[in-house]
Symmetry: C2
């Protein structure tokens, strides 16, 4: 997966060569990156599916018109220098050409579009691994930073879309697109303003009907932020109450930080349905279990009372010091087998809908084995399991293993509670 | 820095050999870890400052009595099997012996005590680097996980204390101790219950008078959590409203997750005073600036209006597209020099009390150079600077550099806003 725009073959761990033809167009060069250069798209004999335009803003109308004459159906205009710096007339001209020739234009002023494992029409620094979360961002810089973070966390994406100035394609088009895309489970958005409130609400409702989770982080919810939005993407941040109402009506989930956006996306993209709002907290650290239970209660996630019959099933192998209640405290010396047996009993109970597995790091703790236990339990059960493998250096590999196997991990018990609260909301499980 | 309790010489990046004498005591061995073994402390000729007791619970009274006869002033009782499993009588016996001989006892059922760079009387997995944050935890497992996380984040500690069952030494003793310790700036606590409300309040007030920041994460604030507290450390979680009132009266800052505890500790331990509640947000990504401004407004941190004279000073080198407002958007192609000049101008303005520097990761971004710019600016100014270097793989080294130089970094603009809000609260800057 190579980004032509970066001027060099960029290595990516999740790279796979683009199988289609790529043509370079530049009147001043005969070759770019080993590709023969055409002076104009009009000189290319083959049919073209997508044009990526990265010329100075003033040349964009000419180039886009040539794309129209060549009957290219779609274009990503990376070039900046339009409405975001006050050049509204130039942007209107671009819009006119796009409409005249029926070109689906993304941008201008966009970081571009990545579909990991398929193609990379962006100047982002790297490419994440393929997954089922589509991230649509009105800020290219955020998208770029998120990709780098995703590589470290092994967070997978269906697509990354920089909306840019939204001359034609906007959030609603992409929400509708990913709602209909079988490869997408979660649609995560960073928005500063909405092009058309009615279409946005329709798109949200469409996605909701299609069973997709839509998460929205809105920039400009305060006065200072709204003012900054105007200079950033020349958007109107709009009325906060109206926006909040629209999200609610459209069945979308509102979040308030990037971290919350992806913590929630991780849960909703990876976890199966939460059938019952009644979870078990399994921990080898009492304090971590307490903090998790506090957060669950605050967020409406039910840390269910264990039935006497369940306690009786656990008793034989839990040792003297266990809590005999939920949170299920396995106590600090818990070996992987204890986690395994506790998970097996608890997930098989009809009155328990899911689990949070906490692993604090103690002398006897075996992070990699514990991770394998959880992965195994998740394979056998249809109930959601979120993990909190705490620590840093010693737990890094076990967290990678969990994520590679589709188990979301959080570094704080409070966040796992938040993830299950969001899952309950998405599954319409009564909170 | 070796933990005798782990049975082996444990390597640590922040290890430094303990300079005092260490004596091993065990009637069944002649040597432990190369040390000559004494059958009892009574057989040691030298004076002893501290006994670390890790024998089965039933033997603790005998061993502690011998320590008393040997006139050892302090003991860490690592052994478990006391009140936390219902053995209250045994615990009372230990307390009686401690009082009778005047031994300052930490524990029983504690992970122990670490003073990084000085000594390690714990069975924690590793040792963080030395710093000015004292972490006092009623959960050993949390302390252990936090240490591992700290190693990854390079977070430094003055001390890590596991309170255990608090037979004698409790949170109030340690708050008072670290309040008087010139090497401590922040006292961070995880508590499940308080031994004596009056003494706790007095200790908080003492720390406040001494200018120390006290941060408190309380387990058992909800019903389920409070119930779990009873089985975890046999504490009474107490009345939530009374506890909240005591913290307020004592000038402590309440937090609600481990992450918030250390995000806040990072700011308060590293940053200079915030004199004026009026900050500048400097960013190369508009969206990140918007999210930060939104969070600041929500938390009462003033994103100050720039004076026309300040804008005029910035104008010459900021290029065409900059925001001409606060957040100060340097635009995506910002090179390190632009960060340097903007920081220099903004920090020199009388109406600006501090800064949040955001770096999104774009094609032109130079994370390491940007980090050096911030470090340099912080050295020249007395105003606090918090950073948000976003990303993962490509920013890891720059974040290490920031932390090594005492600049707190956060992975999300919203968290930096939270950090400055806490700093304002601590500095009693009007919010």
């Amino acid at each position: 997966m190579v980004s032509l725009l970066r001027g060099s073959v960029f290595p990516s761990r999740y790279a796979k060569p683009f199988r289609g033809n790529v043509f370079a167009v530049n009147p001043n060069h005969s070759k770019i990156m080993g590709l023969k250069c055409f002076p104009s798209v009009l000189g290319i004999a083959n049919e073209i599916d997508l044009a990526v335009i990265a010329v100075p803003a003033s040349l964009v109308p000419k180039v886009l018109r040539e794309c129209g004459e060549k009957k290219i159906p779609a274009a990503v205009i990376v070039s900046a220098g339009f409405a975001e710096v006050g050049e509204r007339q130039l942007q209107e001209e671009v819009k006119g050409i796009a409409l005249q020739y029926g070109i689906s234009v993304l941008g201008p002023n966009t970081v571009g579009l990545i579909v990991p494992g398929v193609f990379n029409a962006s100047f982002a620094l790297s490419v994440p691994k393929p997954g089922n979360v589509a991230f649509i961002s009105q800020s290219g810089a955020l998208a770029d930073s998120v990709i780098d973070w995703a590589l470290e966390e092994l967070f997978p994406f269906r697509a990354i879309v920089g909306l840019g100035n939204k001359v034609l394609l906007d959030e609603s088009h992409f929400i509708n697109h990913f709602a209909d895309d079988p490869g997408t489970k979660v649609i995560a958005l960073y928005l500063e303003g909405v092009t058309d409130g009615r279409r946005f609400l329709d798109a949200l409702s469409h996605a909701s009907r299609k069973g997709k989770a839509v998460l929205v982080l809105k920039g400009g919810s305060g006065k200072k932020g709204a003012k900054a939005v105007a200079t950033h993407t020349a958007s109107l941040a709009g009325n906060e109450a109206v926006f909040a109402g629209a999200l609610k009506q459209g069945g979308a989930i509102r979040v308030f930080s990037l971290e919350e956006l992806f913590d929630t996306a991780k849960a909703l993209s990876m976890l199966p349905k939460l059938g019952k709002n009644s979870i078990a907290i399994i921990t080898n650290g009492g304090g971590a279990g307490v903090l998790c239970a506090d957060a669950c209660e605050k967020l409406g996630v039910n840390v269910v009372e264990l039935k006497p019959s369940t306690i009786a099933k656990l008793e034989p192998f839990m040792g003297k010091a266990w809590s005999r209640g939920n949170p299920v405290d396995l106590v600090g010396d818990a070996l992987p087998e204890k986690y395994a047996k506790a998970l097996e009993v608890l997930l098989s109970q009809e009155h328990i809908g899911g689990a949070i597995v906490i692993q604090t790091l103690q002398t006897m703790t075996k992070p990699l084995e514990d991770a394998r236990i959880v992965i195994n339990a998740a394979k056998k059960s249809k109930k959601p399991i979120a993990c909190v493998f705490m620590g840093g250096v010693y737990t890094r590999e076990s967290i990678r293993l969990l994520h590679e196997n589709g188990i979301p991990n959080y570094n704080d018990p409070v966040k796992a509670a938040g993830a299950l609260a969001a899952l309950a909301k998405y599954c319409k499980t009564k909170l």
